[in-house]
């Protein structure tokens, strides 16, 4: 319970400061809307369903793009992890692409694929592919030789070595890559939706800004943070369940 109050305290202080600043009317209601006004907008948007509609659109985009990226990263990660000698073929391309923010490609992507779903999916795939690929590759390549020798002493085939030792041994890295990738794709989709979209949380913020509704902008920011936080928590809970079988430190 103590931890709960420790977590609540800074949030309460921030809210109080925000309310105090509004009461003192330092800034206009347009620049800094009061917490009540933001809450009222939040309630209204929840009631008429607009908030859910935008959340679902953004979530759907993230999940589809993330799934495509995962499949690609997994297949290529296996190839790269199991055959480290192939590194010279792709290393420089990966390093180059990893340093190009996916949002910088949006102009080209709109030109090539229009403002439909495809360009947004590609943005998400590009954003989440690299952390997943690099982690999967690392996890598979860094498999402890001593454990592989156990498999060899038990007469395992190469497929058995992969499925029974390499893959489960790489699971922590794979899951960490997925967690980072999910966070990246969530950030990227909001950016993409602010540039070219007619729905989604990014669009919600941009639309509110154009209507001079800063209260709705704050609602949008709040919801993005909340959904991202919940997704991450859910993922970290799943990781804990999968990795440790409910036992702490079972993965050394």
């Amino acid at each position: 319970m103590k931890t709960f109050w420790k977590a609540v305290l800074p949030v309460a202080v921030l809210l109080l400061l925000w309310q105090a600043a509004c009461n003192m009317e330092i800034w206009s209601q347009y620049v800094l809307p009061s917490p009540q006004r933001v809450f009222q907008s939040f309630e209204a948007m929840l009631r008429d369903g607009t908030l859910f509609r935008h959340i679902l659109v953004s979530l759907w985009r993230v999940l589809s793009g993330f799934s495509i990226a995962f499949v690609l990263a997994f297949l290529l990660g296996i190839l790269a992890g199991v055959h480290p000698a192939s590194a010279p073929f792709y290393k420089h391309i990966v390093e180059f692409m990893r340093n190009v923010p996916p949002l910088s490609l949006i102009a080209l992507l709109i030109l090539w694929f229009g403002i439909g779903e495809t360009s947004k999916l590609i943005i998400i795939v590009l954003a989440s592919f690299f952390p997943m690929f690099l982690n999967i590759k690392k996890g598979l390549a860094a498999c402890d030789v001593k454990l592989l020798e156990v498999g060899r002493s038990l007469n395992f085939s190469e497929t058995q070595l992969f499925l029974k030792i390499r893959l489960p041994n790489a699971l922590p890295d794979i899951l960490v890559g997925m967690r980072v990738g999910l966070g990246y794709s969530w950030r990227a989709i909001i950016g993409a939706e602010m540039i070219a979209a007619s729905s989604g949380l990014g669009y919600l913020i941009l639309d509110a800004q154009q209507m001079s509704r800063s209260d709705k902008v704050i609602v949008g920011i709040f919801v993005i943070g909340l959904v991202g936080f919940l997704c991450d928590r859910l993922f970290s809970y799943a990781i804990q369940k999968v990795l440790h079988g409910g036992v702490d430190d079972s993965w050394s």
């Binding site: 001593k146 454990l147 020798e149 156990v150 060899r152 002493s153 038990l154 007469n155 395992f156 029974k164 030792i165 489960p168 041994n169 699971l171 990795l243 440790h244 079988g245 036992v247 430190d249 079972s250 993965w251 050394s252």
Partner: protein
């Protein structure tokens, strides 16, 4: 020779070199030895004498440069390493049945094995929850569950404390008496070799320096018996002589 190869593992004039900084470093230098079936053969030697390399060659984990190695056809070989090498993501039970195909796991046999190595009640524990000795016992159970004809053991008790080590040595003798497996056991401890070995090879500079047969000594052995003290003195003299060369 044909008769001998059926009886157990045989190696002849085995050579193995390691390449270290442009230099050929001989590890096994024309080693010839025979490992009888249903017997505990101990390879005794100082650190760096080639014991582990020999065991890894016997287990098929490493190749050799010249000579011959004859392993009975279709024989299953199990290994117990210096470290437990358990899969950290699997429970004790799953680690023990790790080498078995899914359909071939006899619950009763595994339970009996767990009882033998004294891990009853820890079936669902993860390796990180076990002590070093318990992990090593689980590794031994894994090798036994695989039901090999030949078990290769590379200083498996070296990292254990005196009492756990003694328990494990007795455990090995008990398992051997029950199941009559062929065991090749590598150690640098003379006492350990005298306690468990039926045949002792002294390995030095990549060759089998001397061979002692202890099959006439029943288990459990008393290390302070005059005969074993005599053999121990002889072994120490040989090992000292060789190292001073």
């Amino acid at each position: 020779m044909e008769v001998l190869t059926i009886a157990g593992v045989k190696i002849e004039t085995l050579c193995k070199n390691y390449q270290v900084a442009d230099k050929q470093l001989p590890v096994l230098n024309g080693l010839t030895a025979e490992f009888p079936e249903e017997s505990i053969t101990v390879i005794l030697g100082r650190s760096g004498c080639g014991k582990t390399t020999l065991l890894r060659i016997l287990g098929g984990l490493e190749g050799y440069d010249s000579g011959s190695l004859t392993v009975p056809h279709h024989s299953k070989i199990g290994m117990v390493f210096q470290e437990p090498r358990l899969m950290p993501w699997l429970t004790v039970w799953k680690n023990i049945v790790f080498g078995l195909p899914k359909g071939r796991v006899s619950e009763q046999a595994v339970r009996a094995l767990i009882e033998t190595v004294g891990l009853s009640g820890f079936e669902k524990a993860y390796p990180a929850q076990l002590s070093g000795g318990m992990q090593q016992r689980a590794a031994l159970a894994r090798a036994l569950a695989y039901d090999p004809e030949l078990i290769l053991m590379d200083e498996p008790f070296a990292a254990l404390d005196y009492f756990t080590r003694e328990t494990m040595q007795n455990e090995l003798i008990r398992i051997y008496s029950l199941q009559k497996k062929s065991v090749v056991f590598v150690t640098h401890s003379i006492d350990e070799a005298l306690l468990i070995g039926q045949k002792i090879f002294i390995l030095d500079h990549g060759r089998a320096e001397r061979e002692f047969s202890l099959s006439g000594f029943p288990y459990p052995r008393e290390l302070l018996s005059p005969e074993l003290i005599g053999i121990k003195k002889e072994i120490i003299t040989i090992m000292k002589q060789r190292s001073s060369l």
